[in-house]
Subunit: 300 residues, 2 copies
């Protein structure tokens, strides 16, 4: 065992080759609602969420195992739909499902164990004062998509100018992508790496805590990662764009730290690492500590 | 990938070393009730059930990952109890939990992914006509224990002469053992191997179907695997001993096929493999086909 509990995935040495493994659950009523997703989409999304933990290590998927919980009254067509969704997602990511288990339960549930290979992995505990904070991908779009679904807002009922941004946000929530290529390309460059599944501010806290540093993101740099139509949609929905960016998870963006000299072209610089501790957002109004849960902005 | 879906576990070649992996779920309200088990026992039992799939391949555990579903109102002490139970079971089996995930859900649930190593594995599809059917461990005791729990029968309310057998049966259900040593010692001897988790008759069908043979167990040989106090307890409970033996799962016994010349000392011979198809039980009254579900005895 080279790396155990506490990172995005565990690392196991098997002879000369490292095996990276992780487990993740996606449960009906907790993580998704079948009013919002087809079963095939839910199955694909569950696999992407699990594989994203491999991306967050800079690892390449090898295989997945899925435990499927099935509610009463499931039909044969449901299993077909799940199989189609899983195979499609697995093919895109190069991650075949090599085993599984089916349990008669009370709702649909996908618990996915993934294994990946890696020459060298990127942990979350290596950020150093002076590093930049990098974002690969977007944060917040999936949360806007989820808000649209939760409110039952149909695309065609939105102002014309917002419809395209709404579609993008819905797609980000429904059909997320595991950033495997970016993760692999960060190996040897990033000093710390996580995937954003539980919200950017809590992932930033994870890097700060594990690395024993202060991680500071800049509100203007974060806001600059959002296209203006998306910003307008967020405002139209009555949400605060910075709150959405910081709370947003499920886009499966990658959040990294690394020295400016090593910065790859595909990342946004959104902050920096300082001596100290805690995760902070720097706004024109001052420095705010990013606390737990959804109570994000706390003076400090 | 050397062996995928359809056996007890999947086999992955990682350089020169095989990795055997499997996933299994144990859910409150489906697989256990907290009236019958402490949380620590439930956690340990879930790990044993998952590791038993490695025993069923003749593989040695390497590590496990656990997805823990937590109901509302869980206390910190609950997590402590789970950790104690998991560590104890993991230590006994040489299977550390190297990663995990926690999900806020609606009940307690343990979904466990296990990885094992193996030089050579035992599949379920190699049984040949002329082989014997072997049972390592017991079948049915856990089911008797579960019946006692479901009926709310307290040990001290039972006739004195049955109390020891009842304790044994309760222990078999509450604290099952993964037969890792027996599994490993069957490598090179057994032609097919499964663990009995879903009932002996359905596991026998799996061997017969996968191997393309007829698998026949003998009622007298099966009944001889039960101590007479246990047989008396079964009768006292109004159950049929043969039914209990055939339907019994969750003892995590191993069921194998293999040639008489290779038979190890620790197995009971309970039947034989013939040309043909299907799983059967031979009773003094004739040959009965073992059908699906709990409708076990069907003439054929």
């Amino acid at each position: 065992l080279e790396l155990g509990i506490g990172d995005d995935a565990a690392v196991l040495a098997v002879h000369s080759k490292r095996l990276v493994c992780s487990i993740d659950a996606s449960l009906e009523g907790v993580h998704f609602d079948l009013k919002w997703l087809t079963l095939g989409e839910a199955a694909a999304r569950a696999l992407v969420a699990a594989v994203s933990d491999l991306a967050a290590m800079g690892s390449k998927p090898v295989a997945a195992l899925v435990n499927l919980e099935v509610p009463p009254g499931a039909a044969l067509a449901d299993f077909d739909a799940i199989g189609v969704g899983q195979r499609r997602a697995g093919r895109v990511m190069g991650c075949p499902i090599i085993g599984g288990n089916i349990v008669r339960g009370s709702r649909w549930g996908f618990t996915t164990s993934v294994m990946g290979s890696a020459g060298r992995v990127i942990r979350r505990d290596g950020a150093r004062p002076g590093d930049e904070i990098w974002l690969a991908g977007h944060s917040g779009l999936a949360r806007v998509g989820l808000t649209l679904l939760q409110r039952g807002s149909a695309i065609e009922e939105l102002p014309k100018a917002l419809q395209r941004a709404a579609k993008l946000c819905l797609r980000n929530w429904k059909v997320p992508v595991a950033r495997l290529e970016e993760g692999a390309r960060l190996v040897g460059k990033a000093t710390a790496l996580v995937d954003v599944s539980d919200g950017l501010s809590s992932e930033l806290r994870h890097i700060a805590e594990a690395s024993g540093v202060r991680a500071v993101v800049h509100s203007d740099a974060l806001l600059a990662t959002l296209d203006s139509p998306v910003q307008r949609l967020i405002t139209w929905l009555g949400l605060d764009p910075l709150e959405v960016l910081l709370a947003g998870g499920e886009d499966y963006a990658l959040l990294a730290a690394g020295p400016a000299a090593a910065r790859p072209a595909f990342v946004h610089v959104v902050g920096e690492v300082r001596r100290g501790q805690g995760a902070y957002v720097a706004t024109p109004g001052g420095l705010h500590r990013l606390a737990t849960g959804f109570d994000h902005l706390r003076s400090g």
